[in-house]
Symmetry: C2
């Protein structure tokens, strides 16, 4: 992103910062802040893991009000499995940020990501809060995006504009996450802000549904984190006629919101730990969308399928095998399998050398689509995943060292 | 195994062979045969995958009779996803073996393992059947154990003897499997023979229960194969008073049968693809045994936990995280975690540096136990698993090349 484009990347009424708070050993940015000049409506989706990090527990307490003026984020330490002390630390940091900003303490939310089970280095963080607030800028979203990175190799930012009821509305979002990524919730950390004016119920509904269609349909390693958090803030600054769940204005806004979510979620897969492949698993001909998703995830989670992608080996038997143990009732003799449009399996049996040779070209690309037709109905669903490489093992075998 | 020990490894009335049938490219043994001199009772457990290989479908048809005189096995080709032709090939091979042995065709069972989706090289296999029968020997179990290997690095054989009703009874078993190993069925291929006299119902019940306690409690990569088969043959040659489900004689026989299954299943983990660690995950304090198993498998399947084991990194947060998303209702603040008896987490919070330093010594061993106490009840269960290493990725990234 050039500086010029960056400067066009602002959302009226929001400011961002990201600095080094001394949590990461290498001195990289690890402390971030989002501030809304006015009270914004907020909707959130959190991890379904029963072991929830302290910031998630605090947010779940506070988000019932639907109001927010600040989000404090840190990377390098998840503040998970830290007990009562972890919760006290989270609350104290939120209070310090609120006081520094001069806002109501209850209006600050938190998110953390990093190593589980270690207390936050409170002494170092506390000292940095004044600086974090001083650095707030309407153009600071890049610094924020950097400050939430862990094993990510690059910051993930998306912007959109849309005209609603004659008013120009802006949307800006960041996300992080390169491992411990699995659906069934809002995966990883993501924060999206907009100057749209929208009723809280409508914001909540569109956030939840959008997460289900985007972040919840990607998977890297099948591990559901303790810290996953998606927060969407809307401050109403665009002064459009307030969107309700029933307004025709919802559709154009929602389309762009989901587009930001979709692009951020795909950036996560593009930057998946050690990934060399970006693969869409499309399952069609299912009796229900739920069945299609279940089969698609079974394929996307199979270590054997993922290593075959890494090895550029068209070992399609592993794909059928993973469909077979997905728990969905399938008819093995009806399965058709396609790689980038080339049919390699028909009625459950391989189509032979020529088709395989053609498809092997496709598997050598960085990005391709695998389509499995169950021939049992008319429902379909896709998930997006990465391969399983040496580097995934390397990154995760020594994460704490 | 020395030649001398091998010679003591026989089971009266059974003969074994294993030769090169030209299926594997490197000319290694890939064709095996077990023959029973008389009609044996047989019990079997097969894969729960909906995509079942041709030999599994044929066995499931035939095993209803409970009678068997021969098992033909091949490695190097799974004969799965091969359609009608695959079934015809399986039937033809069984018929040829039956004719060569001079036995009833319906009494031959089959098993295959190897690449999915390629037709068997029938021309080469058919020519080798006479030799396979000629080579049968009471002492041939090592050759058989070699002939069923795929990515296994060593043959897996176990023997037991037990006295039942004053008669000495022998049990001999082989197994293979180094990847595509996951519970919910009799995992991989295993054949166990005994000269015990036991009623078919009792044999079936003890086989099924034993598989549930042994093969179904190991996991390497969470992939359920299309070909998994466990067959247990009992020919009655020991002439013990026939064991019924209700006889007191069942207990001593069952103990040894399950011991053979248990040792074979642990050999599979010891020889897991690329494995450098052999880890028992023990979950206790659960409300039901099923809950304990579900939590244990969630931990054992987590790529993040497995790579941390590989990296000898005591990243215990990942273990609690995997317990948290297992689907079982747990209380995060009650969790205690032990590594080889060293408590590293108490009430959901880390015990600090000293405990971690002690436990880090344990994680450097090849074999260790992780114990998670949920403090919700009195039920417990264990599963045994391996780590996720570079070599797992290497082996599976290029399996077909």
């Amino acid at each position: 992103m050039t500086r010029e484009r960056q400067n066009s990347y602002f959302v009226p009424g929001f400011r961002f910062s990201g600095i080094s708070g001394g949590i990461k050993k290498d001195g990289a940015r690890d402390l971030g802040l989002i501030q809304s000049d006015t009270i914004a409506n907020v909707a959130g989706v959190f991890t379904t893991n029963r072991v929830k990090a302290a910031p998630v527990l605090l947010d779940m307490e506070r988000i019932g009000s639907g109001r927010c003026r600040g989000i404090l984020v840190n990377s390098g330490n998840a503040n998970a499995c830290t007990g009562e002390r972890g919760l006290e630390n989270a609350r104290l940091l939120a209070d310090l940020v609120a006081d520094e900003l001069g806002i109501d303490r209850e209006l600050v939310l938190l998110a953390s990501t990093g190593v589980i089970g270690q207390p936050l280095p409170m002494d170092r963080i506390v000292k940095k809060i004044p600086k974090l607030v001083q650095e707030l800028s309407p153009y600071g979203i890049s610094s924020l995006a950097e400050a939430i990175m862990t094993t990510d190799t690059r910051p993930k930012i998306e912007f959109e504009t849309v005209t609603v009821g004659g008013r120009d509305i802006r949307l800006g979002g960041v996300a992080k996450g390169a491992g411990m990524i699995r659906p069934r919730m809002a995966t990883m950390l993501s924060f999206i802000v907009s100057d749209v004016s929208i009723e809280l119920d409508a914001l909540r509904a569109t956030t939840r549904e959008g997460a289900g269609r985007t972040f919840n349909r990607i998977t890297i390693d099948g591990d559901t984190s303790t810290n996953d958090t998606l927060l969407v803030l809307a401050n109403g600054r665009a002064d459009n006629f307030r969107i309700k769940a029933s307004s025709p204005d919802l559709a154009p806004f929602q389309e762009k919101l989901w587009s930001v979510m979709d692009r951020l979620s795909k950036q996560l897969i593009e930057d998946a730990e050690g990934a060399t492949k970006f693969v869409e698993i499309h399952v069609k001909g299912a009796q229900t969308e739920h069945d299609a998703l279940q089969v698609a995830f079974s394929i996307a989670h199979s270590p054997l399928v993922k290593t075959a992608f890494f090895g550029e080996d068209l070992n399609w038997g592993r794909i059928l095998c993973a469909a077979g143990y997905s728990g969905v009732t399938i008819e093995p003799n009806r399965l058709d399998l396609f790689l980038e449009g080339v049919r390699i399996v028909e009625d459950g049996v391989g189509c032979g050398k020529e088709a395989e040779t053609q498809a092997t070209e496709a598997i050598k690309k960085r990005s391709f689509t695998v389509t499995l037709d169950l021939h049992l109905g008319s429902e379909a669903a896709s998930v997006v995943t990465s391969d399983l490489s040496y580097d995934y093992v390397k990154i995760n075998g020594s994460y704490r060292s």
